[in-house]
């Protein structure tokens, strides 16, 4: 306040600070009275706030772990590039019949499927080609080739083809599919049909095998 008028007013202050009472006695007398009860609640409010913070931290932790868990639920979903990578990796664990080549896998990059599908495609192609190789061997009378084909198909059936458990969902994935290329057959008798097909071919009745080759084999056998 630089105003001259107010400086004049300030200078005219009629009383300076001071009290005639015994301040200490008054202080003690006032403290005999009940204090503000709300001061009690302040620490409680602090404790409640701390509790809320702790609860919030726990909830955040649960949400974070839940999100991780939810992301795990979708971990079995893979996109096109992963399918192709699985298909290529499976080719190192499987053997193509002599004279056959792995067909390219045309799987759209933006399409999704279950983990292990690339390996399943490789097993399926390998099985089809070995069946056609066996048919060719039967037609050419190559006994050694017939035995080689039979052995290869038995190996596929024993180690790379499984029957999905009864009642399992359509996208059921064999547990070992991430390490070993595996093809899952539905529990509808298809696996047993293949077993009968191979047994009959080995017994000199290749009709079912020829039919399967025509239906599923490379275009040259269709």
């Amino acid at each position: 306040m630089t105003d001259h008028t107010l400086n004049r007013l300030r200078g005219a202050n009629p009383f300076r600070e001071g009290t005639a009472v015994d301040a200490e006695a008054l202080f003690d007398r006032i403290l005999l009275g009940a204090p503000d009860r709300r001061l009690d609640r302040a620490p409680r409010r602090r404790r409640r706030r701390m509790l809320l913070v702790a609860i919030a931290i726990v909830v955040c932790g649960l949400l974070a772990s839940g999100a991780y868990g939810v992301s795990g639920l979708f971990d079995h979903i893979i996109h096109g590039p992963t399918v192709k990578a699985e298909y290529v990796a499976a080719q190192k664990q499987l053997t193509m019949p002599p004279g056959y080549e792995w067909p390219p896998l045309n799987w759209p990059a933006n399409s999704v499927t279950s983990r292990g599908a690339g390996g399943a495609f490789a097993v399926s192609n390998d099985q089809d080609d070995w069946e056609c190789y066996w048919v060719d061997a039967i037609h050419s009378g190559d006994i050694a080739a017939q035995r080689r084909a039979h052995a290869a198909l038995d190996d596929l059936m024993a180690n790379h083809i499984v029957i999905a458990p009864a009642g399992s969902p359509e996208d059921w994935t064999p547990p070992q599919s991430s390490r070993t290329p595996t093809l899952a057959f539905a529990d509808d008798g298809g696996y047993q049909y293949k077993q009968r097909m191979y047994a009959e071919a080995a017994a000199g009745k290749p009709q079912l095998l020829e039919q399967s080759c025509r239906a599923n084999g490379p275009a040259s056998h269709g």
Binding site: M1, D3, T5, L6, R8, L9, R10, A12, N13, P14, F15, R16, E17, G18, T19, A20, V21, A23, L26, F27, I30, L31, G33, A34, P35, D36, R38, L39, D40, A42, P43
Partner: protein, 173 residues
């Protein structure tokens, strides 16, 4: 109190508030209280009972506001025993020791203008503190203070012109 520690903490906090006893007493005296010491003591008792409401960083505006309410109550009580007069308002200062010119100029102001001026000039509050004491926003207080200064200046100038005497508000309202 849930513990001695909390009680001691409250007492320590109140001791800081109580340190303004002299200022509150002077405030009551400047506003013309008949029992300035009693007003200040009661203001301190209220502060103890309502310590949670008292701003711990700057309790003085809160104390002045409480003292002003007590002064109003004192004035209301005295008006019941005195002959009928105007409604009680923010008490007029104890002006008998002022020079007559300033005395009359201050009395010519409204109670609100006068209180704004005196909180700053006599109680030495910063405008933001004075605003809290009056329950105003700082901006509203600055506007009021500016107008009050102008009116006081105008009143003092008129005091120097005997032919144009200002009407004196004897009741300080």
């Amino acid at each position: 109190m849930t513990s001695d520690i909390e009680r001691r903490s409250a007492e320590e906090r109140f001791r800081d508030v109580f340190g303004h006893l002299g200022a509150v007493t002077a405030y009551a005296r400047r506003r013309g209280s008949r029992d300035a010491d009693g007003i200040a003591a009661e203001a301190m008792s209220i502060a103890w009972r309502r310590l949670a409401d008292v701003p711990s960083d700057d309790p003085l505006p809160w104390l002045y506001a409480t003292a002003r309410n007590l002064l109003l109550a004192e004035r209301r009580a005295s008006s019941r025993t005195a002959p009928a007069s105007s409604e009680p308002s923010i008490p007029a200062p104890e002006l008998h020791e002022l020079d007559p010119e300033l005395d009359r100029a201050l009395r010519s102001l409204s109670a609100a203008d006068r209180e704004a001026l005196l909180l700053v000039a006599w109680e030495d509050l910063a405008p933001t503190q004075a605003a809290r004491a009056l329950g105003l926003s700082p901006t509203a207080f600055r506007v009021r203070l500016l107008r009050a200064r102008r009116r006081l200046r105008a009143a003092l100038e008129q005091e120097r012109q005997p032919a144009q005497l200002v009407q004196i508000d004897v009741e300080g309202t």
